[in-house]
């Protein structure tokens, strides 16, 4: 018996207490939606999990009204200390129900249980715990002496890290004093609805967080609602661009966390064992459904063959299969649509000339699966080197000099993340300086922490999530007055922006104070 053979070790679903159907979470209660409900399925075997309400424009209206009411009457009047206490409560409740949340996430998303259990859910608790402590310290956050909340935040999140993206959005928004209407992704609403139950257990005041499920139409109604002050979106660059256009001139503060095509640069002096693990983690973590995935491997030419050989060996040991099996390394692709996109792009990849290699995996009969795949001989002009695939597909390119590596790494409209593998400190810092990317992992990859800002350059979006910077995305800064007073003879200047000329949806960006 090879060491690769193993007995299944299934995580039990008995910890779940799922309902047959879930409503919208508005004003502290679940209620039916006015759209046609849809069924969320497990991508591992296409079995139905639960029926989910579909929010239409009137439901979104009700959710925004609940958030506005809670903002004006409760949340903006509450002390930062008490807001923080609610967030601490949520952090603890998430930790208490962490196994249940991990199982639900894996069931609905298809990611391996070891990832939802060891990465997603612990980070969710950490995210709330981190931002809880900021709620009564906003004056010290570096955004001026009296930063103010923005009001109602409209948040739309993706399906790749459903609960973690929820935490990235809700925790800083509430700490800064905003109220929230959040729309989970259509294919992964389950963990957000269990989270709504946690909010009830925490006794969070009604309307402070509202969760509306649905598809793109629901998200569009939410971000374009005239009574929201802040829009935060994580997802594709195409949708991000559309949101940037539709919110132009409205005064809504916007943060966008969009696509990526990260370069993972491996120099010939890299610590090879760690680099191989890092490359694998960089692109095959979460089936490659990661916006910051290291999808372009840039290998120094003289070690190309060695690196590719070792990668193939390593990938041959990864186990693909039931996401609820604790031994599973590679889970299911989240949806049929995403699987189709991965197949289409890899077909183009083959047609354009690069050589394809896929790990020999047994593909289950049901569900959506894609074997870990490497393309070698990729050139910068190939589509698999330019388009975000969002799947377990690695494109390998080569370089000879650091300057060439930097030029190739930056040769993309994206700029979310990058990796550097080298044993030479000066080279790492020099290359890191020149990479146009918001997060640079040196001799590591795919590390996330609530204290660490995350977000992109260029067409990967703007704004940061995480850390002190992430807090700033939900505050109106209190600068300016100081500097104005420091200069002589100034006419009273104003921060007030001009009213837009061709839209009727403009609102003042701030209302009330946080304290």
């Amino acid at each position: 018996m090879s060491f690769l053979e193993y007995a299944p070790a299934l995580e039990s679903k008995s910890i779940l207490h799922l309902r047959k159907s879930y409503g919208l979470f508005i004003d502290g209660e679940f209620r039916d939606g006015h759209g046609t409900p849809f069924t969320t399925i497990s991508p591992a075997d296409e079995s139905p999990i639960a029926e989910i309400a579909h929010a239409d424009a009137t439901d979104v209206d009700a959710a925004v009204a609940a958030a506005r009411h809670a903002y004006e009457n409760v949340w903006s009047r509450m002390s930062g200390r008490d807001r923080g206490k609610y967030l601490f409560r949520i952090a603890r409740l998430v930790a208490e129900r962490s196994r249940e949340l991990a199982v639900a996430e894996t069931l609905d998303n298809g990611k391996p249980i070891k990832e939802s259990r060891d990465v997603d859910v612990p980070l969710v608790a950490a995210w709330f715990f981190y931002y809880a402590g900021w709620a009564d310290k906003l004056d010290h956050a570096g955004f001026g002496p009296a930063p103010r909340a923005l009001g109602v935040a409209a948040q739309v999140i993706p399906w790749n890290f459903p609960l973690l993206m929820l935490a990235w959005k809700i925790a800083p928004a509430l700490a800064a004093g905003n109220t929230v209407v959040l729309k989970p992704a259509e294919t992964t609403p389950l963990s957000a609805l269990i989270f709504a139950e946690i909010l009830q257990q925490a006794d969070l005041p009604a309307g402070v967080v509202n969760i509306v499920t649905g598809a793109g139409d629901t998200g569009s109604a939410l971000v374009n609602h005239p009574d929201v002050n802040k829009v935060a979106f994580t997802g594709s660059t195409a949708v991000g661009r559309a949101i940037a256009k539709s919110t132009a001139g409205t005064g809504k503060k916007l943060t966008l966390e969009l696509g990526g095509k990260a370069a993972n640069i491996v120099f010939d002096d890299a610590p090879m064992d760690q680099a191989i693990e890092g490359i694998v983690n960089g692109i095959f973590f979460n089936q490659g459904h990661v916006c910051c995935a290291g999808s372009r491997l840039l290998v120094q030419e003289n070690i190309h063959d060695e690196v590719v050989e070792r990668l193939k060996q390593r990938l041959s040991t990864l186990r693909m299969g039931d996401p609820l099996d604790k031994n599973t390394d590679i889970g299911a692709i989240n949806s049929k649509a995403q699987l189709d996109r991965i197949r289409a792009l890899t077909d183009v990849g083959e047609a354009e000339g690069p050589q394809r290699w896929s790990a020999a995996c047994t593909i289950p009969d049901k569900g959506f699966w894609f074997a870990p795949t490497i393309f070698t001989g990729v050139e910068t002009s190939h589509r698999i080197a330019r388009d975000e695939i969002f799947g377990p597909v690695l494109s390998v390119l080569t370089f000879r000099t650091p300057a060439e590596a930097i030029a190739k790494a930056n040769n993309t409209p994206y700029g979310l993340s990058a990796g550097i593998w080298s044993d030479k400190g000066s080279r790492i810092l020099g290359v890191a300086d020149r990479l146009k990317a918001g997060v640079v992992w040196a001799n590591t990859f795919n590390r996330f922490d609530p204290a660490s800002p995350f977000g992109g350059f260029k067409e990967s979006g703007y704004g940061r999530e995480g850390g002190r910077h992430g807090l700033g995305a939900y505050l109106s800064s209190g600068w300016n007055t100081e500097a104005q007073q420091a200069l002589p003879g100034r006419a009273p200047s104003t921060k007030e922006r001009s009213k837009p000329k061709n839209t009727t949806t403009a609102r003042a960006t701030t209302k009330g104070a946080t304290k």
């Binding site: 132009a248 890191a432 640079v440 600068w479 002589p488 100034r490 061709n502």
Partner: protein, 285 residues
């Protein structure tokens, strides 16, 4: 005694450290506040705007790559030269904008003070904008701001000098290069400022100044794929929402119009920066 017959100045564009006429060959008449002829200013075209972006892009690596101490000194040097030409700017503001002597003095003095205020930020903004991050693991982790690249600016239209200085200086602090569309009605101080820049230590291409019609030029800058950010400070009279929509095509960072002259502020520096977070393992010794 003979009287001296004045030699009027030819006002041209400022692109890549040089003073070209508009490639279009066009000029427009600049008049005093009473309507008397002052000069023919260059009327920049789409091609001029695109040339300016090319010059600005080429200048990014040198300017952003200079040490913060050096950028601070270069910016301070501009204030020194402005001080030396104080009388010239006061005359220009008086004739073009109809300001009283004391109003013009105050505008020039404030413009100088704004330069000095921003110059001092060059080697400090990073310390208050960035920070080390206490992550829960054995990692060195630090977040620092970097310039976003090329910033296209529509200068305030009601203030030929102070308005211009108040939008250029903050973008330059972190190492961005700029293409700025000057006040349409009061472009002459902008070109005189270009003479100051050209004779100071600012490398060619770091500041590029276009005169002409903001309504004509700005859309080309808003939609230009090699522009990283768009400051619409002086755009309140334009269809600026359309400009913001055009800028969204390449996800530019956009600052909407402001009423009046933007006050000196740290966030004007920060708005044209990108935060980069670098991780490295530590503890293997």
């Amino acid at each position: 005694m003979t009287t001296h017959l004045a030699i009027p100045k030819t006002y041209k564009l400022y692109i890549g450290g040089k003073f070209p006429r508009s490639e279009s060959g066009r000029t427009y008449e600049v008049v005093t506040h009473k309507g008397a002829f002052l000069a023919n200013a260059a009327k920049a075209s789409r091609k001029d705007a695109r040339d300016a972006v090319v010059a600005a892009r080429a200048a990014v690596s040198g300017w952003a790559g200079a040490t913060a101490y050096n950028r601070g000194q270069v910016l301070y040097r501009i204030a020194e030269l402005l001080e030396g030409r104080r009388a010239q700017f006061i005359d220009e503001l008086r004739s073009s904008s109809g300001l009283s002597e004391s109003q013009a003095q105050r505008e020039v003095d404030t413009a100088i003070d704004v330069w000095v205020w921003y110059a001092g930020w060059a080697d400090k903004y990073l310390q208050v904008s960035g920070n080390g991050n206490a992550v829960s693991g054995p990692y060195f982790n630090i977040s620092t701001p970097e310039p976003t690249g090329v910033v296209a600016i529509l200068a305030p239209q009601d203030s030929g000098l102070l308005g211009l200085v108040s939008v250029i200086a903050p973008a330059l602090v972190s190492g961005n290069t700029v293409v700025v569309v000057a006040s349409e009605s009061s472009p002459l101080p902008a070109i005189s400022l270009a003479e100051v820049l050209a004779t100071s230590d600012v490398p060619g291409g770091v500041v590029n100044i276009l005169t002409g019609s903001p309504a004509e030029i700005t859309p080309w800058l808003a939609s230009h794929a090699d522009v990283n950010a768009l400051d619409l400070a002086g755009g309140s009279a334009l269809e600026w929402v359309d400009l913001q929509i055009a800028a969204a095509e390449t996800l530019k960072r956009v600052l909407p119009p402001e009423m009046g002259i933007p006050a000196p502020a740290l966030d004007r520096i920060q708005l044209f920066t990108e935060t980069k977070t670098v991780w490295h393992p530590k503890g293997i010794i």
